[in-house]
Amino acid sequence: MADSVFIAFQTNEDSRPIIEAIEADNPHAVINAFPAMVKIDAIGRLVIKRESIEARIGRDFDLRELQLNLISLSGNIDETDDEFILEWKA
């Protein structure tokens, strides 16, 4: 079985649509709520799509805005204008 990657955000209104978008685009992801923090674990790979977030917030979104509420992550990152990907390559 492949290893898990994870990403964690502060629990707040900015993060909510991002977490919803991740949940929709990554059916295998597991969302864990901690005090003040939401940690999302996903086996192998996790993708965050700009379009999915924009559809929820109704405005343009620059994926680098993720950094405002980001707490931590694990995995190799590949970021483009459209997608932010976390994955293990082993």
């Binding site: 003040a36 923090m37 680098r64 707490i71």
Partner: protein, 531 residues
Amino acid sequence: MSTNNAAPKKLSIKDNYAMLTRGLGWDTTYQPMDKVFPYDKFEGIKVHDWDKWEDPFRLTMDAYWKYQGEKERKLYAIIDAFQQNNGQFNVTDPRYINALKLFLTGVSPLEYAAHRGFALAGRNFRGAGARIACQMQAIDELRHAQTQVHTISHYNKFFNGFHDFKYMHDRVWYLSVPKSYFEDAMSAGPFEFVTAISFSFEYVLTNLLFMPFMSGAAFNGDMATVTFGFSAQSDESRHMTLGLEVVKFLLEQDPDNVPIIQKWVDKWFWRGYRLLTLVAMMMDYMLPKRIMSWQEAWETYFEKNGGALFHDLERYGIRMPRYHDVAMKEKDRISHEAWGIFYNYTHAAALHTWIPSDDEMKWLGEKYPNTFDKLYRPRLEYWREQQQAGNRFYNNTLPMLCQLCQIPMAFTEPDDPTKICYRESDYLGNKYHFCSDGCKDIFDNEPEKYVQAWLPVHQIYQGNCFEKDADPTAADFNPLAEVMRYYHINVGEDGHEFEDSPDRKNWLRWTGKPSHGGEKTPETGHAEKAT
């Protein structure tokens, strides 16, 4: 620059980042590059092509300032609100403040040290991409130090032990543990520094520091700490990524780099793990409302997440850090062993300790079924009995310190939790003592570095920790009191038993709330509620 009036096409973040990190760098011609960058070869690391360096976040300076500015506005809005609303009185109970004292006096000066360290490392790399990443991190770290000093400043108005954190960091025995850790990294070469701090600490271990602790701060009502912690942590994600990229980049550049990196990974894993003993103790003993035990945090963030990372690095020939198996054996012990040390020496510290309440001991017993009730509960109950009989135990002899990690030698044998672990090495006719094989290995590899360690206990015995006007020949000379004076620790205020502390009395007087977070434990001791 385009001269027509049509708006230029917006660059993709990849192109934008490439322009910044490739287009703006140049090779020097008045002076040879080796003279301009004199420190990036002696460690034996071979770099053939700096252009292979990729920062996956591809953050450009304009975006950096924009997002950092936004983070700062959010942070200070919350710190202001916290201060205006006397948020310090909304924490679960005043014992919690001692976790904060340890964090803010132990870790915050490291943020400043990291600022210096990354400025130095950035100067010494000849690749522009690496230099820019180090530059951003150096600015981040300065920001973290500043936000934490604001928090210190606020808590210092109400609680003891925060008043001279910078001075204490350079002198006090347990603060020498984080201090010496960071100075070891800063006095290494630039590649070892980034492998130590960016990879081994930030990537492999920092989640253990920030995630459970900040989530714990939230759970304990400390919004100021949650805020600076999470704001710092949002930068940390970028730092961790830098750590992983550095290591992958170096491993891909030359096969000769692999054994060097492995050696550093082994060393800095162990150094960082020993440092985190302080965090382990904080999580298990100092948070009135606990979120997870140290053991659980270790299993989640090191064994599982760290395991995935090292699994990923296998393709480069990197294996798990040496002695990770020892850390696994110790995971149900170190927090208890460390609390024992601080309980013994709390009168020489700028923070209070106490015996956990019955509820807390029950929790510890459930979280540590194999060790707590058998090994540590009897000791705590004995101490409590003595304390109730008016004999609160304070240890008045100085402990032997590990030459490497500088922690008092109270850790136990990997396979026998009832036996203290002692290791030693001889070097140039002197004997040096270690708490573990991990610390001994690091010393044996570079003894000429670690014989120079400034060990607080040795320094006290050598007479270097007294004020100039102290007179050791005087009949009534009290060495411990004199060392406290030198440390700027106010006896009777900053350290010793929590039950007798002014912090606790003030809390009862100011808030009228119990000092044990609403638990069943009755208020004891001689503090009285003000009317």
